[in-house]
């Protein structure tokens, strides 16, 4: 997914570093960062852009789902890790 905003820079509040819009679009693998709308909406209509460039199924996953590692609490991560040993 390519857009004309890909090279625009923003300070990422998660990393404390300047990131491109392209990074935000792919932060969660094949889905955008869950924070993309509040981070960018002051600059342009990012919601409309996402509607235009994401496939309907991906848009639905993006709107309804959270990144898999964020679904997991600390305790859950501990339990998951224990199962791997």
């Amino acid at each position: 997914m390519k857009t004309s905003y890909d090279h625009k820079l923003i300070r990422c509040p998660k990393l404390g570093d300047e990131m491109t819009f392209s990074y935000c679009l792919h932060e969660a693998g094949d889905l955008p960062c869950t924070r993309i709308i509040p981070c960018w909406q002051a600059s342009f209509d990012v919601t409309a852009l996402l509607r235009g460039c994401l496939a309907p199924a991906d848009l639905e996953r993006f709107a309804g789902a959270k990144p898999k590692d964020k679904m997991t609490s600390l305790i859950e991560l501990i339990e998951n890790a224990k199962r791997q040993t």
């Binding site: 990393l15 002051a42 501990i78």
Partner: protein, 453 residues
């Protein structure tokens, strides 16, 4: 010649940390297990934290002795000097005396080692051999790297790959202090391998880095994990800032009218504030102000509810002022101020009206930071600029009210590895941004079903 610095001798360093939990007029709500909704037990956390730290996390003992081994390391830069900002005072032309604790004098350049050093020490004492952590831009990772070296611990830092490549200086600091700093996702953990299998060119994310650090701690022998903010024991260790300040102000024969700090996860703010909150609880009247970004209004606009303790939702449910775990802080230039929820202790003190939160937009904060650099010389970290904006605001209020005030604040760190942010400000690439109320309401929907304290 006018006095600028007030110094404590090495032997005057405080020997105990102050634990505000002992003096809270109303008790804190316990953190909840995200799976069961029941209070988290020590055993739940034992896989990633040593028991001596867990005991401090839940302790209600007022004073906790600082071990000699920790004191000895603190003495490398502590007691930190208390400065009077005479040049800044002249620049502002307001009826205020401005005093600040310079935490930028630590080897890592910020307040972070105040917590990293005891964490390394207690891990060592508990038999830990390795510590893992995650880092974004690298401030916490570098502080922990230094602390682990001091106590002969192996340290592995998972640094988000894109920052690892883009911001090499903190990584170089970590390496210089002997830590292993890895680009995350890595091939060393299942979490990292899963991501790489699906996205070989993944630039990483904070969530992936946390997953890797925790998995590494849980699955490796004699290894624990360290978190640099939010939790009670972190705030406890930072209390040395305020305790030193009290002694230094006493040497000057002064007591502040206003105490201020910038609020991210709450650790540096709590460090300067909690000893003064104690004074207030016991009858003194000092105004205590926490400065935060307008675009991240967790204290000023959010309700009090249970929420997750960090952006990646990986710590137990903790009660705090919050905009919900889906809330996304706006593009603020303050890495340390990126948490969407305050530390539970700070949230509790706001709710109990011991702390007054104030929000400042990033243009105001950089304006204050540049004024500071051009008058006092030291270049502040971007997050430190938030408290400087609050100091300017307070000075102007004093002028309007025609009142003389003594202001004390925590200058939490220098910005010498954050100069790109200043470049962005000075070249006009930053924009002021205030979070609209409707956006806040939208974010609050995410926590509507959470238990209310």
């Amino acid at each position: 010649m006018e006095q600028v610095k007030t110094i404590l001798e090495d032997h005057e360093i405080p020997r105990q940390w102050y634990n505000i939990m002992a003096d809270l007029p109303t008790p804190m709500k316990p953190p909840l297990h995200p799976g069961t909704g029941q209070p988290v037990t020590a055993q739940d956390l034992a896989a990633i934290f040593p028991m001596n730290i867990i005991e401090q996390e839940v302790s209600s003992q007022r004073w906790i002795d600082i071990p000699d081994e920790v004191l000895q390391k603190y003495l490398l830069w502590r007691p930190s000097p208390l400065y009077r900002a005479r040049n800044f005072e002249k620049l502002l032309g307001c009826p205020v005396q401005i005093y600040y604790k310079n935490e930028g004098v630590s080897p890592a350049g910020s307040h972070k080692p105040n917590a990293a050093i005891p964490m390394a020490y207690y891990n060592k004492a508990a038999g830990t051999k390795r510590i893992t952590t995650e880092t974004g831009a690298g401030q916490w990772g570098s502080a922990l790297s230094m602390a682990c070296q001091m106590f002969d611990l192996v340290c592995r830092v998972y640094m988000v790959k894109v920052s690892y490549e883009q911001k090499p200086y903190r990584r170089m600091m970590m390496n210089t202090w002997g830590a292993e700093c890895l680009a995350s996702p890595s091939t060393l953990t299942q979490a990292g391998r899963n991501v790489l299998a699906e996205h070989p060119d993944s630039p990483g994310s904070l969530g992936i880095a946390i997953s890797e650090a925790i998995e590494d701690a849980v699955t490796s022998k004699d290894t624990k994990y360290a978190l640099g903010s939010v939790l009670n024991h972190v705030l406890l260790y930072q209390s040395i800032i305020g305790l030193e300040a009290q002694k230094q102000m006493q040497k000057l024969g002064l007591y502040p009218d206003v105490v201020m700090g910038c609020c991210g996860g709450g650790s540096n703010f709590a460090g300067i504030a909690t000893p003064y909150v104690c004074d207030n609880i016991h009858g003194k009247q000092v105004k205590i102000v926490g400065a935060e970004p307008t675009s991240c209004p967790s204290m000023t606009k959010g309700p009090f509810a249970y929420d997750f303790g960090d952006l990646a939702k990986t710590t137990p449910l903790l009660p705090m002022y919050t905009l919900g775990h889906d809330y996304i802080p706006a593009p603020i230039h303050a890495g340390g101020l990126r948490y969407h929820g305050m530390a539970p202790i700070v949230s509790h003190l706001v709710r109990e009206k011991f702390i007054e939160p104030r929000a400042y937009d990033q243009m105001k904060t950089f304006e204050a930071g540049v004024k500071w650099a051009r008058s006092e010389g030291f270049i502040p970290a971007p997050e430190t600029n938030h408290v400087l904006a609050a100091v300017v605001d307070e000075a102007m209020r004093a002028k309007e009210e025609g009142k003389e005030k003594i202001i004390l604040f925590n200058w939490s760190g220098h910005g010498l590895v954050d100069l790109a942010s200043y470049d962005a400000y000075l070249s006009g690439k930053l924009q002021a941004y205030e979070l609209p109320d409707e956006e806040i309401q939208k974010a609050l929907l995410a926590i509507k079903d959470f238990p209310k304290p």
